[in-house]
């Protein structure tokens, strides 16, 4: 989908009241709407929005919503049930009206009172859902419904417009009447005074502002549905949308400078120098240590702390009983030997600074959740704190809040993401580096002895560095080792050939972070297939069942996000019985994708042993849709290579014996 990111300033001049109750009214459908059975611009769609309308008036303190939907298939009937979430005690949902119109024009109004259901309640915070289901819905029906959300006179609520929907939108109209006196509005206890909006808009679509009334409107037609593809980035960050803000800032630079400075002060305050920190680092680093050694030693020290994001945060009562106070500074974290990911990151910041290393905090998005949008002027899109240290003339990004992250490596969710960082002077919008494929390596070794019947015995070793090691180590923080073993065994099932049982014997290095994680695996079962005189083994032991991505999908509309770059290296040795000879082994294969990835497969026969080595290198985490054809071609070729088999042929005497045994009566 083509969208552009933008930010605009809207200045409210008018002070007269917006006409009340401009709710969309139910209007008779057109003959074309009644009779249509498909939408040529959305072939195969289960339903489409014929029309959507959202109206917001902050002077009258309401949002209203109206939709007209055409049901085109049975699946489209699912839209007959609508639910409207709201914050109980702050909002009310009123004026719910709905009706179904059959394709012959018959109108069936909703006459059942909508249900107001609790979704979740914690303390005094409660989220409810108003749920209603339209009557007598058929394929061909038009569903119409509307509702209003109201809030108190002392509140305003500028809207977020989610323009893109799971279904095609034929036409939509949005309008927003901002509060008449912007000077009265406070945001975070500061006067606002301005209204801005940012958005990602389809080509030709814009927010229009009436100069006198300051009414903002947006109209669009023929908006494609939200795409659904494998390996998508957080799609919510890429689809058409508009966000309005009451703010005191005129542009994003001003906002991020101000918000960044505020955030930076909070970071510095938490990580402020103290005697406790000084004493702590004195016990960790030696005066003669280089900055690099100091940085590592401090990292080692904070990695030993209890990271409560993986365990549990202590309650006030527990802290009180233990004679500890609520965490307010890095020193508190050190004293308690416990803190959240962000708190531990800031403790590292404090310690690094305390030993004289230039260090900065950076707060970033979680790439699994959203992509940083600098035009969206909100600190709430930023999730996690990382630390940048300057060692020599080089800056290094560290992820001390991510328990067991290797020094110098970011969790993939924190790589290639935007955020705000501290600098020597002020703050700046920044992007974190991508991971290095050399730091995300999986080595798989297997040594397998196969007998005449295809029964195997053997062992395997899976060594992991980087994200895969981090995955299992973090799982071990929230589960005991037995549970991690069970999960690992389940993952092995998809890795080894059909009929083979792979059982983890033990891990090495599960509870540390600065070495490779090794899994020692026992192999047994039955492999391959056989005929009278031949037996077949999977050429690529660890990938014979793999389903490579992208192989069948011809087209791509969104960025491909494979999380991180990586290397997977396999070395497998089959020992086959003396009375078999290798008739065929996997052919040498090389699949290069210049500047992106590479794949090689080699086999070597040595008497009764066949060695197969496979190497897969993916040097990228993300690929643009324009490169999709090359990506698909790469995986298609790998899939072909991975399907190869080893053919063993029985020595003539054995083949004859087998043949006569088969011919014997009763077989």
């Amino acid at each position: 989908m083509q969208v552009r990111r933008c930010l605009y300033v809207l200045v409210a001049f008018a002070t007269f009241l917006f006409p009340a109750a401009l709710f969309a009214q139910f209007a008779p459908p057109t003959a074309e709407e009644l009779s249509m059975t498909s939408e040529p611009k959305a072939p195969g769609a289960a339903a489409i929005y014929l029309y959507r309308e959202e109206t917001v008036d902050d002077n009258l303190h309401y949002h209203s919503f109206f939709a007209r939907i055409k049901v085109l298939t049975e699946k489209g009937k699912e839209l007959a049930t609508q639910s409207v979430p709201y914050a109980k005690g702050y909002n009310t949902i009123t004026d719910v009206k709905a009706r179904t119109i059959h394709s012959d024009g018959t109108v069936i109004p909703l006459d059942v009172k909508p249900s107001d259901l609790v979704e979740a309640k914690v303390g005094t915070l409660q989220v409810n859902k108003v749920v209603f289901t339209l009557p007598s819905v058929e394929v061909g029906s038009i569903l119409e419904f509307k509702w209003a959300l109201r809030y108190d006179d002392n509140q305003v609520s500028s809207p977020d417009w989610d323009l893109a929907q799971p279904y095609f939108v034929r036409k939509a109209h949005y309008s927003f009447k901002p509060y008449k006196n912007l000077a009265d509005i406070t945001v975070n206890d500061e006067p606002a005074g301005k209204l801005l909006y940012s958005g990602m808009l389809p080509p030709g679509v814009e927010v229009k502002e009436e100069p006198l009334s300051s009414l903002c409107t947006l109209d669009l037609t023929d908006l494609a549905p939200i795409p659904e593809e494998e390996y998508m980035p957080p799609i919510g960050s890429y689809i058409a949308q508009v966000q309005f803000y009451y703010t005191r800032f005129s542009n994003k630079d001003e906002f991020w400078q101000n918000a960044g400075n505020k955030w930076s002060k909070q970071m510095d305050h938490f990580a402020s120098e103290s005697k406790g920190i000084k004493d702590a680092v004195a016990g960790i680093v030696a005066p003669g240590d280089s900055d690099e050694v100091k940085a590592h030693k401090l990292y080692d020290a904070i990695m030993k702390l209890d990271n409560t994001d993986y365990t549990r945060r202590k309650s006030k009562e527990e802290l009180k009983r233990a004679g500890l106070r609520q965490t307010k500074t890095a020193e508190d974290v050190w004293k308690q030997k416990s803190g959240s990911s962000d708190e531990i990151a800031l403790l590292y910041l404090a310690m690094a600074r305390s030993v004289g290393i230039k260090a900065y905090a950076i707060v970033v998005c979680d790439r699994d959740r959203e992509i940083f949008n600098p035009y969206y002027m909100s600190m709430r899109q930023l999730d996690d704190v990382l630390v940048i240290v300057r060692i020599g003339d080089k800056e290094q990004f560290l992820d001390p809040g991510k328990k067991f992250a290797t020094f110098g490596e970011l969790d993939w969710r924190h790589s290639l993401v935007g955020g705000i960082r501290q600098q020597d002077k002020g703050t700046a919008i920044w992007t974190t580096p991508s991971n290095n494929y050399k730091a995300a390596v999986t080595y798989r070794f297997a040594d397998v002895t196969v007998d005449k019947e295809g029964t195997i015995k053997g062992s395997a070793r899976v060594s992991m560095v980087g994200p895969s090691a981090l995955h299992w180590r973090q799982m071990a923080l929230q589960n005991d080792e037995d549970e991690v073993k069970k999960n690992f065994n389940e993952s092995l099932k998809g890795m080894v050939p059909d009929g083979v049982t792979a059982e983890l014997d033990h891990f090495l290095g599960l509870e540390t972070y600065n070495s490779q994680l090794m899994a020692m695996v026992k192999l047994s079962g039955n492999i391959g297939a056989s005929t009278g005189k031949r037996a077949f083994l999977p050429g690529v032991f660890f990938e014979s069942r793999a389903k490579h991505p992208f192989v069948t999908m011809e087209k791509r509309t969104t960025i491909v996000d494979m999380h991180y770059a990586e290397v997977v290296q396999d070395d497998v040795t089959y020992h086959v019985p003396d009375n078999f000879v290798v008739e065929s082994a996997p052919a040498e294969t090389s699949v290069p994708w210049a500047g992106h990835a590479g794949f090689t497969l080699k086999s070597q026969t040595d008497k009764n042993a066949i060695h197969v080595s496979r190497s897969f290198l993916r040097g990228f985490a993300m690929v643009q849709p324009a490169e999709y054809a090359a990506l698909r071609d790469f995986y298609q070729k790998i899939q072909t290579a991975d399907q190869q088999q080893i053919v063993l042929k029985a020595a003539p005497a054995d083949a004859a014996k087998d043949a006569s045994a088969k011919a014997a009566p009763g077989n």
Partner: protein
């Protein structure tokens, strides 16, 4: 749709916090020390048999205090020791609906360091039942996450709840995925009230009368049950032991009498709900006009409900059990299982056919004839077959203890034709709610011919290993119904993606070139699926050889492993599957070797497969029949042998050699 942001206020006026709600006490405001029973439970040693569990329930004690009207107040006391980090996820909770009231709910922790903590109000969370888009439920679940829940800690919870006035039974779940060291159930009945008990997958224990008409059952050392790494097993809920105690009309001696009372209760609850409206009457008369026989009459009505009534669940208090009125269901064109049954009974009534409610569970084995209760989550229909009707299309027929024949039909299943029955419901039990004739019914297991798939493929193999060709498949019975349901609830892209996924499971890299579904309106006619595919490198080159797997598409293998098992084997469905594939071989290649045929016959299934070659054509044919839906664990050796043979046949290879 998402929640609005709430960050801004007008004119600096601060939004006031919500006024604290008056009502039940959930902890915090009624600070209390750990009760003595909790302290005693805490002292319980962790038994050796619990060492592999994530947590162990040291103590679980229910007290049902029943008033003169039969309404119960339930008190639960529970103590859980956390044994592993993942055991922290085990929480205490109380489920409650509009007709219920939590009197109190308190929780404490005795930490691994022996310090005691009480859960505060902020530690309690209330979750609604709003996660299912096609359900409207007023049920809520209050859970507590008390402090200091680390490995070694003991969580102690106590709650009291006034239960629904119309439910006069308690289901005591005596087994879980973690072990119980000690558990007890007490029922305190008013003078003159009786009780009846039933046990599911447990031999039972005798109660002690601790005071007049106040009964107590105790169980010690109940092992936990998990199905991890137990492939092809029934669902866990089915296998967990439980006890039911009745104190209402079903508190009578003898399971038959208890089932009769339960059925009578359902009959009364749903009385008059099916009364037909003039619109229903008119519709039925229109539908059955000119119908030549009973089956046609029936199928026109059932198909109208299956096609026109959208599935939407309404669970509001007693509405979880009692259907809406037929007139409302018909007008709104939506309803859940009990509503669809109600409308069906109503429409059949107009047509002069008697039909009855049959509460069941969608999990085979959940309803247990030895444990009379309302346990179940689904409603289907029993249609009385007139004595003079004998029609082979009516397959799902059972005979009641009254000698009457009933056709069992599920109107909620929108695609399985009347006469047949969804596979998951076959072999289970249900309550025939027919007033004084109520009884527990054993649901039928249909013959293999009532379900299955016929696949035919014609392919051409190129010398470079590319396979191209067409597939024609015919799906009947519940399997056809599942296919139709998928078609109903998917759009074109989803269908294409799903079928491509299905094909690429067997033929990696295959591309669907075209597909076409022939879906007859009549549900009892099979559904046809025709598609064309192409796959590069289907046959693998190995020097001068070309290796071809003749079983191109479709697997009938059921997951199995070699570990000893104690739980039954779920074969899913009876049925008959037949595959026939022709592969035209490339010029210059001849068959050098072929796998042997497979012929296996057991009392529960048979499997026969052959591969032959003639001229330039390779032919694969197999026939698979399943005659039972479930096997006892003792049959595991036979099951493994069969599945091993199927798996081996499915991956067998034909060797082609270049001439």
């Amino acid at each position: 749709m998402k929640l609005l942001r709430w960050a801004w206020m007008v004119g600096g006026i601060t939004v006031l916090p919500l006024v604290a709600l008056a009502g039940p006490i959930f902890g915090g405001r009624d600070k209390q020390p750990v009760p003595q029973w909790g302290l005693d439970a805490y002292k319980t040693r962790t038994p050796d048999y619990a060492k592999d569990a994530a947590s162990v329930i040291l103590y679980d004690d229910y007290l049902e205090t029943v008033d003169a009207q039969g309404r119960a107040v339930e008190r639960e006391r529970e103590a859980i020791r956390i044994l592993k980090p993942q055991g922290r996820n085990r929480v205490c909770g109380v489920s409650h609906d509009v007709d219920e009231k939590i009197n109190y709910f308190r929780a404490w922790t005795i930490g691994a360091d022996e310090k005691q903590y009480q859960a505060q109000e902020a530690d309690f969370i209330e979750e609604g039942d709003t996660g299912v888009p096609i359900m409207l439920s007023t049920n809520k679940y209050r859970v507590v996450h008390p402090p200091a829940v680390d490995v070694g800690a003991v969580v102690i919870c106590e709650s009291e709840e006034v239960l629904k006035p119309y439910i006069q039974e308690a289901v005591w779940r005596i087994q879980s995925d973690v072990p119980f060291v000690y558990e007890a159930m007490e029922v305190d009945l008013p003078a003159g009230r009786n009780y009846a008990e039933g046990w599911h997958r447990f031999k039972g224990v005798k109660p002690v009368e601790v005071s007049p008409n106040h009964w107590r059952w105790e169980i010690k050392d109940m092992p936990g049950l998990t199905l991890r790494d137990v492939p092809s097993s029934p669902e866990l809920a089915v296998l967990l032991a439980r006890m039911t105690v009745q104190w209402g009309s079903a508190a009578v001696p003898g399971t038959d009498n208890q089932w009769r009372a339960i059925g009578q209760w359902v009959t009364t609850l749903e009385a008059n709900r099916p009364d037909p409206s003039p619109e229903i009457t008119a519709k039925v008369q229109q539908l059955i006009a000119g119908a030549p026989d009973f089956y046609t009459k029936l199928s026109r009505i059932t198909q109208s409900i299956q096609k026109d009534i959208r599935y939407f669940v309404v669970m509001r208090g007693i509405g979880g059990l009692q259907a809406n009125k037929a007139s409302d269901i018909y007008r709104n064109r939506y309803g859940d299982c009990k509503d669809k049954t109600t409308l069906l009974i109503s429409m059949l009534q107009v047509a002069g056919i008697h039909a009855f409610y049959v509460p069941v569970d969608h999990r085979r084995g959940m309803v247990d004839p030895e444990d009379p209760s309302l346990v179940g989550d689904h409603m289907i229909t029993a249609i009385e077959i007139p004595a003079d009707v004998h029609d082979a299309r009516l397959k799902a027929v059972v005979e009641g203890s009254n000698g009457k024949r009933y056709l069992i039909f599920d109107p909620t299943d929108e695609r399985t034709p009347v006469g047949n029955l969804p596979s998951n419901e076959q072999g289970g039990f249900g309550t025939l709610a027919a007033g004084s004739s109520s009884q527990v019914l054993s649901l039928p297991v249909l013959a293999p011919e009532a379900n299955g798939t016929e696949r035919k493929g014609a392919f051409t193999l190129a010398a470079d290993g590319t396979l191209g060709g067409s597939m024609d498949t015919v799906h009947s019975g519940p399997e056809g119904g599942d296919f139709r349901s998928f078609l109903k609830y998917s759009d074109e892209k989803q269908r294409h993606d799903a079928w491509e996924r299905m094909v690429t499971r067997d033929v990696p890299g295959a591309v669907l070139e075209s597909f076409n579904v022939v879906e007859p309106d009549a549900l009892d006619l099979p559904l046809e699926f025709h598609y064309k595919l192409k796959a590069g490198d289907y046959a693998r080159k190995a020097g001068p050889l070309l290796l071809v797997r003749p079983r191109v598409i479709g697997s009938v293998a059921i997951p199995f492993n070699d570990k000893p098992r104690t739980v039954p084997i779920d074969l899913t469905a009876t049925g008959h599957w037949h595959d026939s594939y022709d592969i035209a071989l490339p010029d210059g290649y001849v068959v050098d070797e072929m796998p042997d045929p497979v012929n296996l016959d057991t009392d529960f299934a048979s499997y026969h497969s052959t591969i032959s070659a003639k001229d330039k054509m390779l032919h694969y044919e197999r026939d698979y029949t399943v005659k039972k839906v479930e096997l006892p664990a003792e049959k595991q050796a036979d099951f493994r042998h069969l599945e091993g043979a199927i798996l081996s046949d499915e991956r067998s290879t034909v060797v082609l050699k270049k001439q």
